[in-house]
Symmetry: C2
Amino acid sequence: MLEGIDHVALAVSDLDESLAHLNEVWGLDEATRERVEEQGVEEAMLALGDCCLQLVAPAGKDSRLMRYIERRGEGIHHIAFRVEDLEATLKHLKDKGVELIDDSPRPGGGGSLIAFVHPRSQNGVLIELIQRPR
Amino acid sequence: MLEGIDHVALAVSDLDESLAHLNEVWGLDEATRERVEEQGVEEAMLALGDCCLQLVAPAGKDSRLMRYIERRGEGIHHIAFRVEDLEATLKHLKDKGVELIDDSPRPGGGGSLIAFVHPRSQNGVLIELIQRPR
């Protein structure tokens, strides 16, 4: 069902500062960057072997992510599993009684479809499911 | 410098319960399992595409991980980057002024060498560096 880890997302306060740090210290380069207005975040992807690191920063003061960082601090925010068929995966999870944040696929970056699973039923881990375009 | 993400580690209270859940819901199988007495933890690795998920559970009541879970809850604990030459990577990081938990490589599971980087200087992310045997 799961094809692999697509990316690991880090919540950071200042996207530019974190990107500069990851480049200077770890030699990682920004691959893509986009502002997702409806979620109040700005995201950057950095290739790392076969996976990616994603940086997610609050865009605007009323961002939910800003409140998350104030409460929990910066750090690893979620892990994204790549799936072949997101619709089928969500049906499977519902059948297993798993609590979902998104009941059905919604558009993500780069033409992907995504859905989030609630951390409550997953050992406190926020899981994103992502179906990449073929 | 970094070859990729080796694994993402989840802190869980009950290893057996979490392994059963990951198998039942996500179809993941335990690949290896070991008790690391000096760290007061029991670990399991689960293959997931080219990466691994690692579950880390407290072994014994005075485990540091037990206190971590009491304070922060279960969830993503650290991310491990695979490196070719751990000694050289640690030297590079020291030259960059990065705060290390382990100044020099120490033995990890499966014949690997590992070292941890302090989350303080890395956006709150606990980073493990791991050099796998060739």
